[in-house]
Point group: D2
Chain length 146, copies 4
Amino acid sequence: MGAVFTVTRNLRFADCDPAGIAFYPRLLEHVNNVVEDWFAGPLDCSFHELHFVRERGVPTVEIQVKFLRPGALGDAIDWRLTVKTLSRASMTLSIIGAHENGKDMLRAEPTLVHSNFTLDPPRAESFPDDLREKIAAFRAAPSASP
Amino acid sequence: MGAVFTVTRNLRFADCDPAGIAFYPRLLEHVNNVVEDWFAGPLDCSFHELHFVRERGVPTVEIQVKFLRPGALGDAIDWRLTVKTLSRASMTLSIIGAHENGKDMLRAEPTLVHSNFTLDPPRAESFPDDLREKIAAFRAAPSASP
Amino acid sequence: MGAVFTVTRNLRFADCDPAGIAFYPRLLEHVNNVVEDWFAGPLDCSFHELHFVRERGVPTVEIQVKFLRPGALGDAIDWRLTVKTLSRASMTLSIIGAHENGKDMLRAEPTLVHSNFTLDPPRAESFPDDLREKIAAFRAAPSASP
Amino acid sequence: MGAVFTVTRNLRFADCDPAGIAFYPRLLEHVNNVVEDWFAGPLDCSFHELHFVRERGVPTVEIQVKFLRPGALGDAIDWRLTVKTLSRASMTLSIIGAHENGKDMLRAEPTLVHSNFTLDPPRAESFPDDLREKIAAFRAAPSASP
């Protein structure tokens, strides 16, 4: 069984729209923030270090999201991140945001590509060993064959 | 053949991140803006009218996005919207943003549900006839069976 | 001496611009978040309660901001909020965001007006007693005459 | 009499908050967009050129804003930009956003400093002659003494 990264964050006034619920592009900012917190925390490589020291990045090249229930101003959302697939230079994450009653607000599956930003244009590049090892610990269920 | 809604918009400073390219949640704001322009234009029902006069809304319940090429500060993006599927109370759109050289920056397929916001919680409700007829004109290719 | 409300928050990827520093409209979102946290915390009236239960709001009618030093991706910012002036239906706050080394990143003075949103258009309305009393505790230095 | 830069933009769903009106940090994004359009238009130096070709920037170091009337979803706002003061490396702008009925929504006075981003930290630097000349044309009224 893999590790699960969790963090809780409130939906804010700045996240909500005239319908009184969280605006979906802002919910995807929350998704991105969860990834950022995971890097700064257990992966031990803050986005500051990743972008400005290592000159790498992890742009999202694909995402699928189901918005199952609305999120309202002030709601505390429990986020859970696991790694669905990990390959040479990319990974697909499972990021679920749930209400306090345990019901899912959204389920997102972003695919991120580790990229070398010293090249123009940036190019995919294998995860370095330190990151790969820490990322692998969050695989939901190790696949039989890579 | 269905109609295609098109609009061109530049990527702005506010859209771009420290990697110098458009931040993906902000690109999804652009996607939402295209829907908003389509409603205010050919559908003849601005979001102001939809939300505050009709007290309805079209929350996005699902979205799939492929980010094929990065967008940079100042890039003019040509957006094309068509309707992929239209059912009683929901529709799946195809929204493609392309660079001036014709190469796609992103392809998004959001599913929107027409919802009655006078109910608590809001509930899906059939599109009214005036909207349905105008939406149907943008179907990429009428399906053989609904 | 009045109370000081403090909270620490990191600058995020979503806050930063192509120059690699926090984008000033996003810094003002942080300023607004500090106010939101102050209401939900010591004022014991979350924005959810304020807007959806009490049907009131505190729109910002004026703001002056000095951006003294840039904020960079990942910087932990220490925020301090005090009340500069408090009158019948409005208050001017002092909100200072400082770097970990103690040097100020920005100093903002927003003026907020307590407004009744059940009226159209919304109208200024005296702070209710419970809020006024809690707000008054944060006055930097009680003025001799109101 | 100086030139006036004008542009009209709608307030969008993404700009509006649960109170149904434009969120003030988003209005300041509009203010920044007006500056961006002025640079790309009459100043003939897009933010892309300024940041990535010239490696300069114009960070806002101070701003004063009066929010005189709320802006609502869909409102068309007429923006007017003039230059209030222009000195060696900085300028204070007057940016007014008005409703279609001519009544002002907001008045902002941001001060921008032309900065050299090839230095770490970036440092103020005189406006180059081409920019200075074009900026000067927008001075509201030349002051008697600098």
